[in-house]
């Protein structure tokens, strides 16, 4: 039945890399009851294997002639003549530099996280579900990355959503006892959520974006006649612009906004911290939230070409840029006041992804798109590495202190030196400290792109965000590792911790992944200057060949680079120094009223979360309950009953005429005869 095209055997790593984790997931399911050791090994090994396969793909980059496609027919409406409006959906694999880079990031970081999970989840009673979902998650993500068309991407997309839903709500019991509350819930006060709630929230909110995205995909396919990325890109240029293209592009962007937790759909991610630490690392640093950025990178050529034909489409990129910048800023301010360790990292993730979105957006508005494009991808890579390290280290800290709150930590650097190192290096990278850390190079490349695009408000917002980023990062490190230990931390450190064990660095199986990721951050930073050039040439050349821009790739003038580096350095200092003084040196801050109210505004998440609940969640649920009780059970049932009783009343009345009395019967018979005669006359006479 199926007709395969392309070299499926020679390019086996491109489809094996997602098939292996899926297979691993099934094996895990089978092994769950048999042997825990075997299950864990298979669970981790399958992802490690796909990392190896991804590495094989990376070796293709220098020589191959991209893009390479493998396709097999999947959905085709039979009996179709050539001009059938429903485009056939192929099952396809797209191998190009973008997908290869992404696959490597996902698989390699994923593999380290899986190794970490073996120990981290070691105390859980049964982990079959965990391993199954984690493997399926990595598989879905790689499937998404390698897919050649939008529909197939949606499978991976929904698969990732599904697994994240189940993993965020992994501790679905929602136990309220104080110990579990401290480690498995998220938030405080009115905005405190149990795992099952957080999972559902993530699910519904990303679904919100997905629904719009599906509509966008359908519109895009109908206006271009294909679902395939490359075919659409080949067709949008010719034959003028289609009026549905702009709505389609914006709807698709909403999918990315939902998945990548950008404004206005960012509220799910901070609450998704209810999952175990490896889940947070995998979903919220390395993979799932990057899917949105990847989607924008994938459709980039399509709308770049379309924008050349119809300038109206530049709005797609402008919206992306502004959404990214606004998100970066807003969530950075929230990170600056968060009380929970993992939540700081969560807000920070949202903020950093905002940068990537910004990079993709500004790239689309300029002729030298490759600076922004490569910057976005570069930042995606470096962020995946350092944020995964941060999440994993945070997991170790929470595990040791038995609390997710930073005020239950403090002074841990001596007790957990390796973990401290595993937080410090990635933190410096997150701040963008120059030269040695990957974050510096990637973030500066984005800032450079923003500068080159000449959009000064965007530049101002992104520079301000640099300061806030440094502030919250230093604050986090200070609160957790410096200062005097808080009571719970001290108790934990002295061996009287909640679960009675000694707080200290975790076992090597947990430390090594963190240190490996930290080392990778430094390696990427040390080679940063070459890396950025390599990425710009590679991606610039490749995307350029798709969009028909063939020119010299030049990476901006040195003056701009120095300016950007200088400015970002200045803003780093502006943010880092106050935080250092307050949270590391322990300087007292005067409580200044306006500052406090700004702080509480940030801590209340700008009231966005609350507004959503008040405007959408509660009213819809209440309306549903009201209709179910009052309308369906109440009004409609009573209408039915009154219809019944009125019918009975009429029948009862009619019954009364059956008196049996001779007189009445005679009168009725007479009336009937008169009626008959009248009818006969009426019929006969004319």
């Amino acid at each position: 039945m199926a007709v395969f095209s392309g070299d499926w055997i020679g390019l086996a790593p491109a489809w094996l890399c997602w098939l292996v984790p899926f297979a691993g997931a099934l094996i895990v399911l089978a092994l769950g009851k048999i042997s825990r050791k075997a299950m864990e090994s298979i669970g981790a090994a399958s992802v490690a294997a796909s990392a190896a396969l991804a590495l094989v793909m990376a070796t293709w980059i220098p020589g191959a002639d991209f893009p390479i496609r493998l396709t097999a027919p999947w959905v085709e409406l039979a009996g179709s003549s050539g001009d059938l409006p429903f485009p056939a959906i192929a099952f396809g694999i797209l191998v190009d530099p973008v997908s290869i880079i992404l696959a490597n990031v996902v698989a390699a970081v994923g593999a380290l996280i899986m190794v970490y999970s073996i120990r981290y989840m070691g105390e859980e009673p049964s982990t079959t579900r965990f391993w199954f979902l984690m493997d399926a998650f990595v598989g879905s993500m790689l499937f998404l990355v390698m897919s050649d068309n939008l529909v197939q991407m949606l499978f991976g997309w929904e698969g990732v959503g599904l697994c994240s839903y189940a993993l965020i709500g992994y501790w679905y019991r929602d136990s309220k006892d104080p110990k579990s509350w401290l480690t498995t819930w998220v938030g405080e006060g009115n905005e405190s959520y149990p795992p099952s709630h957080a999972g559902m929230k993530a699910f519904l909110m990303t679904r919100f974006g997905d629904v719009l995205m599906i509509a966008g995909v359908i519109l895009l396919a109908l206006s271009t006649g294909s679902f395939s990325f490359l075919e659409i890109a080949g067709r949008v240029g010719s034959g003028g612009s289609h009026p549905l293209l702009l709505p389609a592009s914006v709807l698709i962007l909403f999918g990315a906004i939902g998945k990548s937790a950008q404004l206005p759909l960012m509220e799910w991610l901070p609450d998704a911290m209810t999952g175990p630490a490896p889940v947070s690392a995998l979903i919220h640093a390395a993979t799932m939230v990057k899917a949105g950025v990847y989607l924008v990178a994938r459709v980039f050529p399509i709308f770049y070409i379309a924008a050349a034909a119809d300038p109206g489409l530049i709005r797609f990129f402008e919206i992306a840029a502004w959404v990214g910048a606004a998100t970066a800023f807003v969530s950075a301010t929230q990170a600056a006041v968060s009380t929970e360790l993992k939540k700081v990292l969560a807000y920070s993730t949202v903020s950093q992804i905002g940068y990537m979105m910004l990079a993709m957006g500004v790239a689309g508005t300029m002729a030298e798109f490759y600076i922004g494009y490569a910057g976005g991808i570069f930042h995606l890579m470096s962020h995946a590495v350092f944020k995964a390290a941060l999440f994993l280290a945070a997991g170790a800290v929470i595990h040791a202190t038995g609390s997710r709150f930073m005020h239950h930590m403090g002074g841990l650097r001596k007790r957990m030196p390796l973990t401290f190192l595993g937080v410090l290096i990635p933190s410096l990278s997150l701040m963008g400290v120059p030269i040695l850390f990957s974050g510096f190079w990637s973030k500066d490349m984005i800032l450079e792109a923003v500068l080159e695009s000449g959009n000064l408000p965007l530049l101002a917002v992104s520079l301000a965000t640099v300061s806030i980023t440094c502030f919250y990062t230093v604050r986090m490190v200070g609160k957790v590792f410096f200062g005097s230990p808080s009571a719970p931390a001290a108790a934990a450190v002295n061996g009287g911790g909640a679960d009675g064990h000694h707080a200290g660095d975790p076992s090597p199986l947990m430390s090594l992944p963190v240190l490996a990721l930290s080392a990778a951050t430094i390696a990427m930073g040390a080679l940063g200057v070459y890396e950025r050039e390599w990425l710009a040439r590679l991606l610039g050349g490749y995307i350029g060949s798709l969009v028909g821009v063939h020119g010299e790739i030049h990476l901006g003038d040195p003056a701009a680079q120095i300016m950007v580096s200088g400015a970002s350095l200045a803003f780093i200092v502006i943010g880092a120094v106050p935080a250092y003084l307050i949270y590391v040196r322990g300087m007292r801050i005067p409580t200044w009223r306006p500052l406090r109210s700004i702080g509480s505004f940030f801590a209340n998440r700008w009231y966005i979360n609350r507004a959503y609940y008040a405007l959408f969640v509660y009213p819809v649920f209440r309306l549903g309950g009201w209709i179910a009780d009052r309308v369906e059970e109440g009004a409609l049932r009573s209408a039915e009953r009154s219809a019944q009783s009125s019918l009975l009343w009429i029948v009862g009345r009619l019954k009364k005429t059956h008196t049996g009395g001779l007189n009445e019967n005679l009168i009725a018979a007479l009336a009937g005869m008169i009626l008959l005669v009248a009818m006969l006359l009426l019929v006969v006479v004319p």
Binding site: E76, A78, G79, V151, L154, F155, L162, L222
Partner: protein
């Protein structure tokens, strides 16, 4: 094999079941399953023919009365094939599932001793009549035949609810009977009007717009329980014995969509925008009420209303893709809603009759299999891969966007697409409330019957299969 077997086997089996029942007791259920299983096997055997783009046809001379060509003809084309496939497979699964369930239900009704066997024989004999009605309706070629089968569905299900239902079962059965009979009457008047106008009774003759088309449209919409005409459905599907709900809710009401596709399309074409609006309202209304509903069977019933809205949206588009999507969604909805109802039945048995979701909680740890079925069913219906709901919804929405003539229409379709988030919402909420959270105190759970879980798994596997092999649906429908 001729198509007569589709109707002949249940017809011949029916008296056998009825008379063997008192002796075989619950085992008579397995015997009754022969009919739908044979139907399923025959559907599979028709596949090669249909994949070639042909159709199966059997002609039986019966009567030429009043100059009417009243031959008892049966035909299976693409649409009928998918319908027969869904009907026979779900009927077979439900039949096997119902053995243990009815055993339990009959004890619950206090039927003891000799009466038990008779109760089984009544149930399965009427069940076969029900199955016969559904299969007969979708392979009929003329409206008289169609009408006979159509009303047979009604009478048999009325009996089933009346005898074995829950709550105020006699009254519920009567409400169901009256409403569905209104549908039947409207349809019948439509048939008569059409005959008076054109002198034709063949289903294929319903190609032109006339007054009859509108009557048929409304009649079939009552059957589909679209918004405003739905009040009977939550009641009937909520109080019917659960296996019957599993068959009624997805399979039976979808026959309304079949009727519209075959006979009332001209009226739809004329009112496309209004029907789309009606569909959107149905989707939203069903979804919102499902969100607020606490009784799990009622919740599923409202969900069915919402899904009929999707099907109506596809019909309203009057496009080829949309219609294909409708038939595809019928299949999807049949499998997955059956999974959900059957799982609800399993839970009810495990929990000694508890149906309120708010009284459940934390069940995932105790019955992981049921939790898995419930989650798969809800998420599959919401359109998550790898369940066939993804394909069918994609096609319905593509068709709807394609059929949207102007901007208003486009907005309506977008609204309908957007409201599909409600489908996820009530599913996720029901899962969360029943399966997650702290375990409720005092819930003592019986072990689930494995023989009841197997049919559910089979339905789930079929739904997976039709995701991976879409050509099984698309090629036959291509003709």
């Amino acid at each position: 094999m001729t198509l007569v077997c589709f109707v002949l086997i249940p017809l011949l089996l029916l008296p056998v079941i009825y008379f063997a029942g008192p002796r075989l007791k619950e085992k008579v259920g397995y015997a009754a399953a022969i009919a739908p299983l044979a139907g399923f096997a025959q559907t599979i055997s028709l596949y090669p023919l249909l994949l070639n783009g042909e159709r199966a046809f059997t002609e039986i001379g019966w009567a030429n009365y009043l100059g009417l060509d009243m031959n008892f003809n049966l035909s299976v084309d693409g649409i009928s094939l998918i319908y027969v496939l869904s009907i026979s497979s779900v009927s077979a699964a439900v039949c096997l599932y119902s053995v243990k369930y009815m055993d339990h239900r009959i004890s619950e009704l206090g039927i003891e001793g000799k009466e038990r066997g008779r109760a089984f024989s009544r149930f399965y004999a009427v069940y076969l009549a029900f199955y016969l009605g559904m299969v007969g309706a979708v392979i009929s070629t003329n409206v008289i035949q169609f009408y006979i089968f159509y009303e047979l569905i009604l009478i048999s299900t009325w009996l089933l609810i009346h005898m074995f239902g829950y709550g105020d079962k006699e009254r519920v059965a009567l409400v169901y009977f009256i409403w569905t009979h209104i549908s039947g009457m409207l349809v019948l008047i439509g048939f008569v009007l059409h005959y008076m106008e054109s002198g034709c009774i063949s289903i294929a003759s319903y190609q032109d717009l006339s007054g009859a088309s509108y009557l048929l449209l409304v009649g079939f919409c009552v059957k589909m329980a679209v918004f405003g005409l739905h009040t009977w459905l939550p009641l009937a599907h909520g109080e019917a014995p659960t296996p019957i709900s599993a068959l009624l809710s997805p399979v039976t009401i979808g026959i309304g969509a079949y009727g519209i596709l075959r006979m009332a399309l001209p009226a739809v074409a004329n009112l496309s925008l209004w029907i789309a609006i009606w569909a959107m309202v149905t989707i939203i209304y069903g979804g919102i009420v499902a969100l607020g509903e606490d009784d799990i069977k009622r919740l599923l019933a409202y969900s069915s209303i919402s899904h009929m809205g999707y099907m109506l949206l596809g019909i309203a588009s009057i496009t080829y893709v949309g219609s294909v999507g409708v038939v595809y969604h019928y299949l999807t909805h049949a499998f997955l809603k059956a999974v959900l109802f059957m799982t609800a039945g399993v839970l009810m048995m495990q929990l000694h009759g508890i149906r309120r979701i708010s009284m459940m909680g934390g069940l995932a740890a105790k019955t992981p299999v049921a939790a898995f079925f419930l989650a798969s069913g809800f998420l599959g219906l919401a359109g998550f891969p790898p369940f066939s709901g993804f394909n069918s919804k994609l096609m319905i929405f593509t068709g709807a966007f394609l059929g949207a003539g102007d901007q208003t229409y486009l907005v309506i379709v977008a609204g309908a697409a957007f409201s599909s988030i409600l489908t996820v919402a009530y599913g996720a909420e029901a899962i969360r409330k029943s399966m997650f959270g702290p375990a409720k105190e005092g819930l003592n759970l019986e072990k689930a019957e494995v023989s009841m879980l197997i049919p559910i798994a089979a339905m789930l596997i079929l739904s997976l299969a039709f995701f991976f092999l879409p050509w099984l649906v698309l090629v036959p429908l291509g003709g």
